[in-house]
Symmetry: C2
Subunit: 446 residues, 2 copies
């Protein structure tokens, strides 16, 4: 049955497909101020699930949540030279407050290294206060000239971790722990994205860091998306904000620091990793709705069966909802659930009920087949586990298939049109990187 | 044993006691920009627990979370006349973004009625789209000339609900449901504050509302704190933002709306309701740490017993931590836990261990008595339940004892110096309210 496509096909225009999907699946809207976005309830429910999974891992890594003001005195930003240089073209500045011009303008945080380190310097006295491990969930602002919803927006939501340690080795180990055990684990095992873990070149590093660890995901168009970063800050901010501690030895030493973050950009990465021409495909472990039980028609027996199955799924710990809105045509509702990427649909009509079955439709693996109502809960649980694995496998297969070993800059530029190129950094170096940049190709990950 | 007081006694200077406690219990610091605050990890853990309890109740009431930009075009605020008048002296204005002066300045949200209603007007077409029930957790900014940490800060954290309904009755019922079942239930049964539920006078109403429901708590000094509000907005914003729906009848009608919020001010209310001269007293159902198991000395048997009891408490679902930092003097650690208001301390030293007991100290009811290690888990569970009830009872007793029926404005002013005055609105009226206001007394609740 040929249907008119609901979305621009990916193969025709991937960025257009992305925009279409964000609108049709009711994930987000553009905000009224250029570059801002409205995250609609379904889009926000994806972010909430991401938050809760990442937050649990951050707490396991020993960090505590806190909250710092979003208004930062301008002079804080100028204390660390590279940092201010990196951010000044992106700042939003408040010049009026309470009906008056402010004596000193304040900046809306583009990130909170400066203000958090001002306080860390007050709180840290001795080596016993270290490590100090702080995390914050917050909105930040970086004025965006080429905005794209979820990927680059003037205001976005994120978490930012900021830590202080007694030694270079401790700081380095913690940045790496966050990189692997928090972000890497979450992205592979919940988002089902086979991210590549590595580090950035000096050119691509965070402003003020001595080393930036990155997680790069390959999207459906073969392009890379930076899904998160974890930075070693060395003693740069400790010196700028005077974070010194009394060491075991009795000497005063500067602390060693890290910072790390993931943002609502991950929602964009999720869409572009797993989406297809029919909409989203949400990995079961993330999905706010794992299974929807649909009434095909509104007769009493069908509605009762649908609600009963919904209750049994919930009782088994499956995030299930019931769709009994039978005044909307069934086909339209089915297309909507497909757009939203709900992993499993169970459809029940009068004929299914006669046979004691439901039709089970799998959004991730594809295909439809009947299941008995008695066995439906067990089947759904098995399908969800299977399809979580399948998505990760598909992500890995794409990354492998579309990564080419190359030997020259020309070959790398060519490979970047359809996927990733891999070449030895020794052969490329900063000079080669600069040449690639002229062609619009960046070195993502060492 | 007479100790030098750690905090200014409440009876000497209640506001000073409050500031002392916020510093000593490591709840918050002043931010660098006037009126802003840094919420430290322990203070934030109280807010996180409040968020999770309130969020669950909001979801039970059918609302969905979303996120709207904090930057609002200035012209949005001017569309509803009373609303802009209410907020303009408090606004923070961004005039520069991305290194340039902006063509139209943008305001940092003081509340989101305007921007959310702009989108609700796009999303609502027919009566089938109603009720539309949206909630947002966010930071907001209202420039504060007399800031006090948690109570009045230039930036604060809150949730704001915004809903649209087909009729006045539906909107009114929903505002009331939030008032009672979400806020009232949370404040009484989790915060253990015996809040008074009522509505505001026209003078005290939210800018743009036709009715404001309030929850007023009596603090330790007998003063009232507004703990939350739920507003009926009538059709004011629907007309300003053109929120119309196609009714069942085929006619286009303006929607009826509500908005409602609670904020980090609740942390201030919690402190001032239950705190005493030794620090906080956190109700067990809220407490991030319900029980701390303390090693008095660092010998191996003690440490093993402390950890074992900690594990058994956690296994029983009690939020327990172990304090084995025996290089800090025991007395200092005990005072710290007392300041932080942890409901139960279990102290174990070599002598306790010989007798197979721990010393159980109750922060809320007061007193210390030994418990056998075998029975400790059950005893702690019982104490936590008892002390939750006790705190609510103490809150109710204070409210009743300090509320006086009065017959005149003079008597009301007199009563307000030590508590609350109650008098018939028919006898007072707007004219009497204006006279009270001249004496610095406000009508809190009808
Ligand atoms: Zn630097
Ligand atoms: Zn009005």
């Amino acid at each position: 049955m040929a249907k008119a496509p609901i979305l621009t096909p990916q193969a025709d225009d991937f960025p257009r497909w992305y925009q279409d999907l964000i609108g049709k699946a009711e994930l987000a809207d553009n905000g009224p101020v250029r570059g801002t976005m409205v995250i609609r309830p379904y889009g926000y429910s994806l972010w909430e699930r991401m938050q809760s999974e990442v937050d649990a891992r951050i707490k396991d890594a020993g960090a505590q949540n806190a909250y710092f003001p979003m208004f930062i005195p301008e002079n804080y930003l100028t204390r660390e030279a590279e940092h201010v240089e990196g951010f000044s073209p992106e700042l939003a500045v408040v010049t009026h407050g309470g009906g008056k011009q402010l004596e000193e303008p304040v900046v809306v945080r583009p990130t909170s290294e400066t203000i958090i380190n001002e306080y860390i310097s007050k709180w840290v006295q001795s080596y016993r206060d270290l490590p100090l491990l702080i995390n914050q969930w917050a909105n930040v602002v970086r004025w965006e000239l080429r905005p794209r919803v979820f990927l680059r927006t003037t205001e976005f939501l994120w978490q930012e971790g900021h830590t202080a340690h007694v030694s270079y080795d401790d700081a380095r180990a913690y940045a790496s722990r966050i990189h692997r055990q928090v972000y890497g684990d979450f992205m592979r095992n919940v988002l089902a994205i086979d991210v590549l873990l590595g580090r950035k070149t000096a050119r691509e590093r965070f402003a003020g860091a001595i080393n930036t660890l990155t997680l790069e995901g390959m999207m459906g168009d073969g392009k890379a998306l930076q899904m998160g970063t974890s930075h070693e800050l060395g003693q740069n901010f400790a010196k700028a904000f005077d974070i010194q501690y009394l060491a075991d030895s009795g000497e005063r030493e500067y602390a060693w620091q890290t910072s790390w973050g993931v943002s609502t950009r991950m929602v964009g990465g999720l869409i572009m990793s797993h989406g297809d021409d029919n909409g989203l495909r949400i990995p079961p472990r993330l999905a706010p709705v794992q299974a929807v039980v649909m009434a095909i028609k509104g007769d009493d027996a069908v509605l009762a069966a649908v609600r009963d199955l919904g209750d049994r799924l919930k009782a088994a710990g499956i995030r299930a909802v019931v769709d009994d809105k039978t005044d909307t045509p069934f086909g339209r509702r089915a297309v909507d659930w497909e757009l939203k990427g709900v992993p499993v649909r169970l459809e029940i009509g009068p004929r299914d009920l006669e046979g004691g079955t439901a039709m089970l439709a799998r959004r991730i693996a594809g295909g439809k087949s009947p299941v008995t109502l008695d066995s439906a809960v067990d089947t759904v649980a098995a399908v969800l586990a299977e399809d979580q694995d399948l998505l990760l496998r598909q992500s890995a297969e794409r990354r492998i298939a579309r990564t080419v070993d190359v030997a020259s800059i020309d070959e790398a530029v060519e490979a970047a049109t359809t996927g990733w190129a891999r070449m030895p950094w020794a052969d490329l170096g900063p000079a080669g990187e600069a040449k690639l940049a002229e062609q619009g190709v960046s070195v993502r990950c060492l």
